[in-house]
């Protein structure tokens, strides 16, 4: 009350002169350290839980197909593939393949999705025609990413050491023994277009 707000006072002086701000910057007079640390602890637990819940929600298929760009294009195509139905009933959801599982890379991917939010808000891919036009570019992004990480997302489920070569066709055994086990190639180098339709090859950036 000693310093009534005045138009002549600068911005910073008004901030630091604010009684709540001054209270925040000083030791507590009324609350014990035990109470304050308990409060911080409880708030921290609640925050961590809420953060992970939100992060997990953003990693559900329901969230992915919340925009029609995903629901009407790539999600429909997945439904005809072995990653959707198969004899064992195990299936891959969008984030299993398209969101890195390591924490740092996952957070980086979530931030990269700001570009997708922009595309959704401004209707960059809001028709089937627009989607088909950018499909070669989008597919190439994922192929480049999976080539660079040696198909990490595939290998989260598929382990070369657990492959029973007796149950594979001779052609597959040859390819896996000569190229996969030697480290010459990884899954995505051969298995493109297994969960979504392939783009027209002529439209690919790498086509010559």
């Amino acid at each position: 009350m000693a310093n009534p707000p005045s138009a002549r006072r600068g911005f910073w002086a008004r901030i630091t002169g604010n009684s709540i701000i001054r209270t925040m910057a000083r030791p507590s007079v009324h609350f014990s350290l035990a109470f304050l640390t308990l409060g911080g602890f409880v708030a921290g637990v609640a925050f961590w839980g809420a953060f992970n819940t939100a992060l997990e929600f953003a990693n559900t298929e329901k969230f992915c197909i919340g925009c029609h760009e995903m629901r009407d294009n790539v999600y429909q195509e997945l439904q005809g593939t072995i990653h959707w139905t198969n004899r064992s009933g195990v299936r891959a959801t969008c984030p299993d393949c398209h969101v890195p599982h390591a924490w740092t890379l996952k957070i980086a991917r979530k931030m990269a999705a700001s570009r997708e939010i922009y595309a959704m808000l401004f209707g960059v891919i809001d028709t089937r025609e627009k989607f088909l036009a950018v499909r070669p570019e989008l597919a190439q992004h994922e192929w480049d990413r999976m080539s660079a990480n040696r198909s990490t997302e595939c290998r989260n489920c598929h382990k070369p050491e657990s492959m029973n070569f007796d149950k594979q066709k001779p052609q597959a055994v040859a390819a896996h023994k000569n190229q996969l086990l030697t480290g010459e190639k990884t899954c995505i180098d051969c298995h493109k277009g297994i969960a979504h339709k392939l783009p027209n090859v002529e439209e690919l950036p790498t086509f010559e």
Partner: protein
Amino acid sequence: MQTAEAQSSKAREAMSFLILSVFIWPVIAVGFVAAYGFAFWIFFILAGPPGPT
């Protein structure tokens, strides 16, 4: 017996505590995580996609 001045400073401290614990620190924490993610995204744009994990 508390004076009116002590009571109002206690209310101010309680309010400060609530604002800090449910708003300011959570926003700063989310901001740090977002900045961390953006930094890695920008790094990968420049350096190419990351290797196997």
